[in-house]
Symmetry: C2
Subunit: 193 residues, 2 copies
């Protein structure tokens, strides 16, 4: 017997690998009967909706644990820099755990989740704006672009882990270093992370 | 009357906005009857498959037009740098034009398109490796990570254009500058693009 959270975690893990898996395939991968899965969730849409809520909750928890609201309010460069690095590390965990939800077209059009996502994005945009004012991030980039870049890099993390392109132990530093310094080898950045 | 390419272009434009649109909704958005759309494509899967082929062809054309194979073979820093900037600009056009295909879970699991994508990715990874050897890109990043970063940033471009977060005229420079220099405001990068 598994509790709901174990079922959801296992379903997410399978969908991360096989995002188009059917209910029967998900049930098989989890190791429960199709009837049991259907007893919990009337349809694939209902299951995926629930997983989307779980992914949004994970995103919100990552923001909370990184303390981005307090850091934004403080305006303190050291606090903002610390919160930013903590947030990016948390996003590596989220991308690994909830990866498929990042780009599921069905999920990303459910009004409830769109609204939730917009609320979380607004907090993050305010945070990046504070980072720019405090000199932690470049001031010449639109804050919404910065937010979209972090989203895109989370997908890069997901793909890198999914295909085994990068070792798990290296990815936090790769993400932080690429986000802050880019991939160019100009003399100023000189290949150092 | 529309020819096939016009139908496909219009279908892609609609799916970029509404990635979960049904055949009926796609037909309506294109301005043709559902029967006509079904005469061309027996199912939504068949249509989306065709759009995926079109997106792969667009990706391949962007690589070709940027001349990444010749630049890779030359090993010349100036040629590599030029090809890299041309490629990134072409990816902005592709993200705007074929955006939904970048993250469509169904498409990204069709064996034919997976194989095509892997072939194109291999060319690109060889190109980024040559850029690293020539001192155009940082040598300390795994080339496959670099490739995934470019993919993630293409999605950031798509989202920025879709939500109107960034002006179309600014996005080429934002992409190139963020990819090469990152978003951090360290003294070395000093907020200059």
């Amino acid at each position: 017997m598994r509790n709901e959270d174990e079922i959801l975690a296992a379903a997410t893990r399978h969908l991360n690998k096989e995002p188009t898996a059917s209910m029967a395939e998900i049930a098989k991968a989890i190791g429960i009967s199709r009837a049991t899965l259907h007893r919990h969730y009337a349809s694939r849409e209902a299951l995926v909706h629930r997983l989307g809520q779980r992914a949004c909750a994970g995103w919100e928890r990552s923001q909370d644990e990184a303390g981005i609201v307090a850091a934004t309010a403080s305006g303190d460069p050291a606090a903002l820099d610390r919160a930013l690095r903590t947030l990016l590390r948390a996003f590596v965990v989220d991308a690994d755990e909830y990866g498929f939800a990042l780009t599921d077209h069905f999920l990303n059009h459910l009004p409830e989740l769109v609204e939730w996502g917009e609320r979380l994005e607004a907090r993050e945009v305010a945070f990046y704006t504070a980072c720019q004012r405090a000199g932690v991030l470049r001031a010449d980039l639109p804050p919404r672009w910065v937010s979209n870049v972090v989203y895109g890099l989370s997908i890069a993390v997901r793909e890198s882990l999914r295909h085994g392109d990068v070792a798990r132990r290296d990815i936090d530093e790769l993400l932080i270093s690429t986000f802050l310094s880019g991939a160019g080898a100009r003399p100023e950045t000189g290949g150092s992370p």
